[in-house]
Amino acid sequence: MERYYQPEIECAPREKIKAIQDERLVAQVRHVWDNVPYYRKKMEEAGITPDDIKSSDDLHKLPFLSKADLREAYPYGLLGVPLKDCVRIQSTSGTTGKRVVAFYTHHDIDLWEECCARAIMAAGGTDEDVCQVSYGYGLFTGGPGLNGGSHKVGCLTIPTSSGNTERQIMFIKDLNATILCCTPSYAAYLGETMKEMGMSPEDIPLKAGIFGAEAWSEEMRQDIQDTLGIKAYDIYGLTELSGPGVSFECSAQAGMHINEDHFIAEIIDPDTGEVLPEGSMGELVFTAIDKEAFPMIRYRTRDICSLTREKCSCGRTHVKMTKPKGRTDDMLIIRGVNVFPSQIETVLLNKGYPANYQIVVDRVNNTDTLDVQVEMTQEMFTDNVGEISARQRELVEGLKNMLGIKANVSLVAPKSITRSEGKAVRVIDKRKI
């Protein structure tokens, strides 16, 4: 049986969702015009005023906000309310440039946690469940977001945060955790550690996992589901928009429902900025229509995906986005070809390799090199050099078919690739460009 946190909104008829969006967008644009001089200036430069925005159909007229704007307006330039009305900040890791610092009012925290609560219930969670939140707590939105959502659902919440892997497993087992929230790479690592401790999926009560904050492939989902004996659900979000819960997977495990009563999604051509029709692959753009403190209008996520409004078997009516192929930030341009780490992951898992890998990009004699390092496993190892080399060649071939360029495959010692407790570091780019 499908469970909903707010069925009246999650399963609302499309007209009702549109009506909510129209009303909230018009009010939000007015709010931003009145309170965020940085964005008002952008609107003035584009020659539009709040009067031009009469419904969500006019959204495309508004100027974009990008990561560059966040940098320029850092830290208070995009604030929509007086600081005294803010009750929280959260921040990104800052791995791709300057940190994003986002502000929240009580209302903003509330809607964020509501979104997370919807995600937990979509994964089958109820107030009977024990929800272990192994996302990092602190500035990172993962821990606080799911923690709040778990409270809202009424789950018994175990705020383990990340790290101390054996203790995590002990808590899952001893305190009967049924839902696990963390990054997919950490879920895979927990599974690996469990196996090493001689435990099988039957030894733990987990039934579902909510995993996000990094791109992961369908093959990795399968792998995690098998090693932990659970159903693994994807969750998506950005600190700029609140955090995890902007969209989430339901029982169909085929695309993530965007919480459209809070966020309007568009897909644009990343080069021209033009809005693309439903079903097209392009850059995902979000407008937060009822956030007060940090009201992002047409924020370019740099995530590449597509949207669909096809009827979903779960009964939710909110638009679904596909798993982002990867953030444009993660995209590597190697010898002029676009390469997403997730494509490499797909090939590795398809060919039976573990999800522990590292991608090293370098430039030797003005030519880009791509080295995929994979750990040797007990299952793969044989005394026969020829057999191992043949597998290696098969992998090189598989990568070439997927990527269109040649990648070198290095077999490295077991456990030599650092395990991540949060977002995994998959790519080391040594090129000095």
Partner: protein, 143 residues
């Protein structure tokens, strides 16, 4: 009649073999024979020890992946032509040799050769039929 050779995966970079032998040294494991096979980016260390299970478990705890391979260990006189005689027998019995190496030193004055062949039982039988002593795992502690 069979001896289990331990094969261990090593990255082909400086120090990896040393790290592994250090682990074995710490546990006072005596290598009776050692051979290396390598490609440009990985290698396989093949060796014989007296206590296979103990060695394997030490390696596992130290994070190595390994496998066991049956090999034939033959005792041959330490003199010219002795190896040739064994190879002659293999040829006559149509036994294909994948690789071979020698046991390091011995107390007995004999030489011991390790052979990896497709069919180790057939190879061992062929040698015995021709009067060549084939050693067992237990013998590895003695020689």
């Amino acid at each position: 009649m069979d001896v289990k050779q331990i094969s261990v995966f090593l990255e082909n970079k400086p120090g990896t073999l040393n790290e592994m032998t250090k682990v074995l040294t710490e546990h006072e494991i005596d290598l009776r024979a050692l051979s290396l096979a390598e490609t440009t980016d990985f290698g396989i260390a093949r060796f014989i020890t007296a206590d296979v299970l103990e060695t394997i478990s030490i390696l596992k705890d130290a994070g190595y992946v390994s496998s066991l391979t049956p090999v034939v260990v033959a005792e041959i006189p330490d003199e010219a032509g002795a190896l040739n005689r064994v190879l002659q027998i293999f040829m006559e019995y149509n036994i294909n040799l994948e690789y071979m190496y020698a046991i390091l030193g011995s107390k007995s004055g004999h030489a011991y050769m390790i052979f990896r062949v497709q069919d180790d039982k057939k190879a061992a039988a062929a040698l015995v039929a021709n009067g060549i002593r084939v050693l067992s795992q237990e013998d590895m502690a003695e020689i």
